[in-house]
């Protein structure tokens, strides 16, 4: 008789569940890091990601 639910399947399920959790956590960490890094970019123009010299602190102070 072949049992539908073998102990092997239970062990595999625990492993797959663990790997799944790790992957979800990894997505969360990478997403969180991305949000933090992008927020720290400061005064950078969004449309072309190029720093505008006139809004840099040093340039502004000289004016």
């Amino acid at each position: 008789m072949i049992r539908a639910e073998h102990e092997l399947h239970r062990r595999r399920r625990s492993r797959n569940f663990g790997v799944g959790l790790v992957l979800v956590a990894l997505i969360g960490v990478v997403f969180g890091l991305t949000v933090v890094k992008v927020r720290q970019l400061g005064e950078m123009q969004a449309f072309d990601s190029v720093v505008r010299p006139e809004i840099l602190p040093g340039e502004r102070d000289e004016k």
């Binding site: 072949i2 073998h6 092997l8």
Partner: protein, 310 residues
């Protein structure tokens, strides 16, 4: 039962916990704690999420070196009682799997730490993994009785990596935090070796108690403890230290030195007569020693944040 289920019973498939055990979770807790303190006592603190991510990647890097160490040392682990139940010698995970996991997690942790913080910290993490696996495990562990000293260096890097992840460079404070763990490791393990009949002999790993004898081991314990005390108190006078740390370090090191002096004065006859009382007390105290030192550094950092002793 059919042949199919019988065949299934014979082949053990590793569970998630078996792979996790490859990363030496108990060692990882010390790595996490010391790396976290290394980051929090630094004069500049990255965003909290970046700090937590950096600690995670340092821990994964430490775990990866543990997996690679288990892959290389599987033959020794199978002989020694303490390590016989590890995933590879017990047959739950193959050596090739451990090697693959170790290499993949090493690359992953170094790359992610570099992206999350800076490449100096990532390079230091890569060097730590290389040092532990190649220099310690593959090269020196089986060939020199100073293996404990060299292994201690690998365990001493995490607070330095934490500091570099926060500041971008190595400084006196990070070198002193490194020295604290580096110099603590030999007396800690040699005290254990004095009262535990080590099975390193059976595995062919040279230990100081066997190669140079027990009186020499007692002298080594005292010498390392004396140098350790000087470095531990010195850290209190740097920017990373503070009043809490300084008082703690002076008290703890005075007590530790007293214990080492007792061990130095005793011979095997005296030790056997009271069942290694002084050696066991010294070892138990050494377990607290590191935790309390780094805890005191953390306490000073918190007090600085809130303007006390600023």
């Amino acid at each position: 039962m059919t042949d199919v289920t019988t065949a299934m019973d014979d082949a053990y498939e590793a569970q998630f916990g078996d792979y996790f055990a490859l990363l030496k979770p108990r060692v990882m807790t010390l790595v996490v704690f010391t790396a976290l303190v290394g980051m929090l006592v630094a004069p500049v603190l990255p965003h909290p999420f970046v700090t937590l991510s950096a600690i995670l990647f340092i821990a994964v890097g430490g775990g990866a070196s543990g997996a690679l160490n288990m892959w290389w040392d599987a033959d020794i682990d199978a002989v020694m009682k303490r390590t016989r139940k590890r995933p590879i010698p017990s047959g739950r995970v193959t050596g090739q799997e451990a090697l693959a996991i170790g290499l993949a997690l090493s690359g992953f942790s170094v790359a992610m730490l570099g992206l999350a913080t800076n490449w100096a910290a990532a390079a230091l993490l890569a060097f730590t993994i290389f040092f532990y696996v190649v220099v310690y495990s593959m090269w020196l562990k089986r060939s020199t009785p100073q293996n404990i000293v060299i292994g201690g260096a690998a365990g001493a890097f995490p607070p330095m990596i934490g500091w570099v992840a926060a500041t971008g460079s190595v400084s006196l404070e990070s070198v002193l935090m490194f020295s604290l763990i580096f110099l603590w490791t030999p007396p800690h393990f040699w005290a254990l070796a004095l009262f535990m009949r080590s099975d390193y002999d059976d595995a062919g790993v040279p230990m100081l108690t066997v190669t140079h004898g027990r009186p020499a081991t007692r002298r080594h314990i005292f010498a390392y403890t004396a140098v350790l005390a000087a470095f531990a108190v010195w850290l209190g006078f740097t920017a990373a230290g503070g009043p809490v740390y300084l008082v703690t370090a002076v008290a703890l090191n005075a007590w530790f030195l007293k214990g080492a002096w007792e061990i130095l004065r005793r011979d095997e006859g005296m030790a056997e007569a009271d069942n290694y009382r002084a050696e066991k007390a010294f070892f138990r105290f050494s377990l607290l020693y590191l935790f309390v030192h780094f805890g005191a550094l953390l306490a000073d950092a918190v007090l600085r944040t809130y303007g006390v002793f600023a």
